[in-house]
Symmetry: C2
């Protein structure tokens, strides 16, 4: 090893799995959230690619996606130079998806694992945090981004930091905490030593595979078998479907992060949102002086904190406060900010 | 005169004028409120005809309408036996419309003037009230229905009753009162001697024309000229358009009722609503135990006092209280009960 060598490039590993129902009816099975221009002109997937592009010093990305969404992925990769895709025969959660990418990379590659359906307002801070995380990953840590909480959210897992690591660009993870109730979330916020678990990670590929093998040997071996029996086709890699079917579906948090002694957290205050429901989207969007945000044809009278999105029909709203109105195709959704959490329970969302 | 003769039949005079904007987007210029099935299966116009049909002892109706709506009127008259129409070349308000009908009837005919866009829940009471009003009209009174107030409404004119007439099936009108503010409306309600002016009247045709000639001689003469120069065509009568254009546009209240010494009022407590806006319609409709009313495809979760009407798209509402959602063609309206009063101010409603 040569300490003065150019830094190992960071390989973005972009996860495009799942289809979600909480932004229905805009997001549908055939048109999932990452591929929609929910904030600004770019889709969330395109913005994820742009955050870690070559101009900012990142290596070409590896995109892990399902066969159903490969066309969307390739259309939105838009010729992204050197990008590779790994096409999952079925969804097997994040531990397997990350392992697939790790097995296709050199052992010393630094993987930057990014969900493709989150929004990050402050791209510079994201990149700076990614470099800090990569530095720790290069030193053998499995690094998670700790999103600085902006409120007592009950919809996220939390990470409690432990002792500082070396030059204090990060901390050991003391423990991962399941989604808390409101009172505990407030206590975490007051404590100051807790972060949201945003699903962003940096690992050395080899270290990740070692830890996966140590804590989930069967999962590690099954993924390896699916890769050995797989085949490449241009920039696409297809794991073997039969072997893949046997893989245990587990999140990287459960399979690896909560078990490894090498978990570290780097703090990230970068205007992050998982755009987890319509209310979260409303918060991420630009609003007028009354807190209203409009996309599509709409007329608002005496309204405040109203979100309107329409793909065609004109929407006229009078006298409403704190309301979400979404028109998409033959579906109209009207909900309160609290109601936004139950959108996935609607028969339209669950039976699409 | 023979006091023991069969009672003079009552001729329903049904006014189908105006196009209104307050039930937009369901009501449109080409599809006005009277011709929509807003409550139940029948349109408001059809229900108006049915309330005073032959089976209940009424004479065939005379319908006064504009040329633009003649097709709708004739389609919904549905062969109503003996019905006649008077086709106004343009809208000239209620004084002229009623005068047209009066001039086409025998002088001793009892006219029962009915707007075609109101809802009346209790049809039996309506008919009973109509007979009382007709009795007074036959004795020379110009009778208005006094709707028993059910709340301190500020959207209606009020009628103050004066001394009782004869056997006390009615009172002289003491005075008509313009739309009051909330405090005055409450005072009227507390007083008990005030009614809403619902635009329902009973007159002897000859008496009405005499009073019109007394208080608005020019108006009376111009309408008479338009009738003299007009022509009949089957069951339709067309006043002369050129003469008609000169008619002064005035309501029957201003032109006659507020000036005549013969104004009487009969009380009517019959579940009346002018369906003056979406909130009024919601009040008139049947609701479930949570106060919700749905027409069309809809799914409501955790909602109360929500009205949904859709002509096609499915509407999903979560967590809303006191809200109106209407989908019609390429328009979506969302408003609060208070906001319902401003629907006419929307650009969609005013520029159709």
């Amino acid at each position: 090893m040569n300490d003065s060598a150019a830094p190992v490039p960071i390989v973005p590993v972009i996860l495009c799995g799942g289809s979600g129902t909480r932004l229905w009816p805009r997001s549908r099975k055939t048109r999932p959230k990452p591929f929609l221009p929910l904030v600004g002109e770019s889709t969330l997937f395109e913005a994820t690619l742009a955050r870690c592009d070559a101009a900012a010093g990142f290596a070409p990305p590896v995109v892990v996606t399902g066969a159903a969404h490969l066309d969307l992925v390739e259309a939105q990769l838009n010729g992204c130079k050197g990008a590779g895709t790994i096409v999952e025969p079925e969804g097997k959660n994040t531990a397997a998806a990350i392992a697939l990418a790790a097995l296709r990379l050199p052992a010393d590659a630094i993987m930057l694992v990014c969900p493709s359906d989150h929004y990050i307002a402050d791209v510079d801070t994201f990149r700076e945090t990614a470099r800090k995380a990569a530095d720790l990953a290069a030193r053998g840590w499995l690094v998670t981004f700790g999103i600085t909480p902006t409120g007592p959210e009950t919809g996220f897992g939390y990470i409690r930091r432990g002792e500082a690591i070396g030059v204090a660009s990060g901390w050991r993870v003391d423990r991962f905490v399941e989604k808390p109730d409101r009172a505990r979330a407030q206590a975490f916020l007051d404590d100051g030593g807790y972060f949201w678990n945003g699903g962003l990670f940096a690992f050395r590929a080899g270290t990740f595979l070692e830890e996966l093998a140590a804590h989930r040997p069967a999962l590690a071996e099954t993924v390896a078998r699916a890769v050995r029996a797989g085949h490449a086709e241009g920039g696409r890699f297809h794991p073997d479907a039969q072997a893949f079917a046997a893989i245990q579906s587990e999140s990287v948090d459960y399979a690896v992060m909560e078990n490894t002694a090498k978990a570290a957290v780097v703090p990230a205050s970068m205007g992050w949102s998982d755009i987890g429901n319509w209310q979260a989207l409303h918060e991420a969007l630009e609003k007028d002086g009354s807190g209203n945000s409009i996309a599509g044809r709409a007329e608002l009278r005496d309204c405040s904190n109203v979100l309107v999105q329409s793909d065609g029909p004109r929407v006229s709203v009078i006298g409403a406060s704190n309301l979400i109105v979404v028109v998409d195709g033959d579906e109209v959704l009207v909900c309160t900010p609290e109601g936004a959490q139950d959108v996935g329970k609607l028969s339209g969302a669950s039976r699409q």
